[in-house]
């Protein structure tokens, strides 16, 4: 018996759709079959998936179903992306409007207070008040 146990626990990449289909359809030789089984002995994800896929009645339809899910996902990603873009655009627009309003408010307040200040400033009393002179 080989005393090195590393080959038992060696991790390999998850099974591709092609590998799973070949295994399910019995298109693999003993060595290839063993390699797939060695992987599923340590990978719950692939093991569960294989068990599930083996329950599909029409195995020939599996790639088509996966392609359909793939297309739906693509569609979903695109709409998600455009939604995100729209949300981003609207947030920029809202921010812009807010900034403009803020600037207008500051300008208004500045004008208002400067005018108010001018109104309250006492008129300087002239040392020589100019009396209305009536020319005769």
């Amino acid at each position: 018996m080989n005393s090195d146990s590393s080959f038992i626990f060696k991790e390999t990449g998850c099974l591709t759709e092609q590998q799973l289909m070949d295994y399910l359809n019995g298109r693999l030789n003993e060595e290839e079959k063993h390699a797939i089984e060695a992987h599923i002995a340590g990978c719950e994800f692939c093991s569960d998936a294989l068990e599930g896929l083996s329950a599909v009645k029409n195995k020939g339809a599996i790639p088509l179903v996966i392609r359909q899910i793939h297309q739906q996902l693509r569609h979903e990603l695109q709409s998600h992306q455009s939604k995100t873009k729209k949300v981003k655009m609207y947030s920029w627009l809202v921010a812009l409007v807010f900034i403009i309003l803020l600037i207008l408010l500051i300008a208004f307040m500045a004008t208002y207070f400067s005018m108010k200040k001018q109104d309250h400033t006492p008129q300087p009393v002239s040392p020589h008040p100019v009396a209305l002179q009536t020319r005769y």
């Binding site: 018996m1 090195d4 038992i8 340590g42 569960d48």
Partner: protein, 198 residues
């Protein structure tokens, strides 16, 4: 590397996940999900036992991932995705069939675990303990593991020779492998402790 070109094919899950975490561009996540669609569908089939439902729920799982991944600290995408998929199916079953299922938090604890990660390079394998650990397994597990790993036999062949069903063979190998790992770790730990005492 852009999500639009094909250079991402060679990228690892980790690289794609990092790209997504940096840019928050869902296209990276889409590429990652596409890699595992067939596995998600398979898991859904296993638990839901209905092709149409499995198809719908695969889609729902993808949406759930797109929506929620930012809320989680995902280290190993594959393990995390498996747990999300499995939990989604179990939750659905619980809702529809009122089954008693372990709370999700139990599974969530293991969400980040990469079961084989520690053994990736064979670094921590305790070479001398294998034979000892094999002896600690029960007979069916020992037989199946022996035939599978050392004689390189397939499940079908082992089933024919031993009389166990293929499902039983698979289960003995999976459980045996787990028990073997635990036994090796235990033996190594005991050995270390003995050495320290000496």
């Amino acid at each position: 590397m852009n999500p639009g070109d094909n250079s991402y094919y060679a990228a690892t899950d980790q690289e794609l996940l990092e790209k997504f975490q940096k840019t928050h561009n869902n296209d990276w996540l889409g590429i990652l999900l596409e890699r595992y669609l067939h596995l998600i569908f398979g898991v859904c089939m296993k638990y839901l036992e209905n092709e149409e439902e499995a198809k719908d729920h695969t889609q729902q799982i993808c949406l759930q991932v797109l929506k929620n991944i930012s809320r989680h600290e995902v280290t190993y995408f594959k393990s995390w995705l498996y747990q999300v998929s499995k939990n989604h199916c179990l939750m659905h079953l619980r809702k529809s069939r009122h089954l008693h299922i372990q709370p999700l938090t139990e599974d969530a604890r293991d969400m980040q675990a990469e079961p084989e990660g520690r053994y990736r390079n064979g670094e921590e394998i305790q070479i001398n303990y294998l034979q000892q650990a094999m002896k600690l397994l029960n007979k069916p597990q020992h037989t199946c593991l022996e035939m599978f790993f050392f004689q390189k036999r397939t499940y079908q062949h082992i089933s024919e020779v031993t009389g166990y069903s293929v499902k039983q063979v698979k289960s003995h190998i999976q459980n045996g492998k787990r028990n073997l790992r635990q036994a090796i770790e235990r033996l190594a730990k005991e050995d270390r402790r003995n050495n320290e005492e000496e």
